[in-house]
């Protein structure tokens, strides 16, 4: 996929999700939170397929195989953490009687943001690109 297609696909999913989110928060619709998050589920699943496809391609490619596979595995884990975080948020919002602690719900986000911060920082230091 060209970068334009990927960008527009991401943009469209985000737009639909934000519209549904606003409608739900303003009580214009009373849908289940798992339905409101459908654009995100769709996006994450396509992302997983895209990463898996890249992983297969990098397995075939003998040049810098180990680095490339390590990178795609990290991306796969990041998407799975994002998925689990979204499921926890939906559960917290939908099942109020469960009283899930916010710490448990937001813990995947801490891991994700902290890992991305380290990754971007290493990139910043390694290539000295500001």
């Amino acid at each position: 996929m060209a970068v334009l297609h990927r960008a527009l696909f991401t943009w469209f999913n985000l737009l639909i999700f934000l519209i549904l989110l606003v409608l739900r928060l303003d009580h214009r619709i009373q849908w289940n939170w798992f339905i409101v998050f459908i654009p995100m589920w769709l996006y994450d699943n396509i992302l997983l397929v895209y990463i898996a496809f890249h992983m297969i391609l990098s397995c075939k490619n003998t040049h810098e195989r180990a680095v490339s596979i390590r990178r795609t595995v990290w991306y796969m884990i990041a998407v799975l953490i994002k998925l689990s975080a979204q499921i926890l948020v939906c559960l917290k919002l939908e099942t109020l009687q469960w009283t899930l602690p916010a710490k448990a719900v937001l813990a995947p986000f801490w891991a994700l943001f902290a890992a991305f911060s380290v990754d971007v920082f290493l990139n910043l230091v390694r290539y000295s690109r500001y």
């Binding site: 970068v3 334009l4 990927r6 960008a7 527009l8 991401t10 943009w11 985000l14 737009l15 934000l18 989110l21 606003v22 928060l25 303003d26 992302l47 895209y50 990463i51 991306y75 990041a78 998407v79 602690p101 916010a102 710490k103 719900v105 937001l106 813990a107 986000f109 801490w110 943001f113 902290a114 991305f116 911060s117 971007v120 920082f121 990139n123 910043l124 690109r129 500001y130």
Partner: protein
Amino acid sequence: MIFSLNELVSWLGLTVFEIWINLVSLTIFTILLALKLDEIYFVESSGWWIVFSPLFIADALNTYFCAIIFIRMHMEGMMKVGILRTLWSMVTLLLLFVFKYLLCKKLAGPSNLDYSEVLSPVFILLQLIAIRACQLH
């Protein structure tokens, strides 16, 4: 992931340093948010401003960084590119700041604003980002 860091930089018009600042501030924000939601700290309604403070600090740092880049570009004679870059950064920062401010105000106390009004800066920003996406090669 779906985008490389270079693609993100050229699409969003942010530098790697700005992305890093935003990520660090988001990490701190989510930790403070969990403490607030579990009612461990910042129990009073004004506590929302403390929870949102990392995001406001990140905005201030990014504004300072953009100002420095503009001054350096001006000194190197890249006036037109510098103005366009600073304009885009300032519009992005302003829209995101307004969104965070309105959200914090809504959460902190009685507010007549709907969430559709609170998120309106984000929707404007999304339109601008869509235009930038069409310029990608």
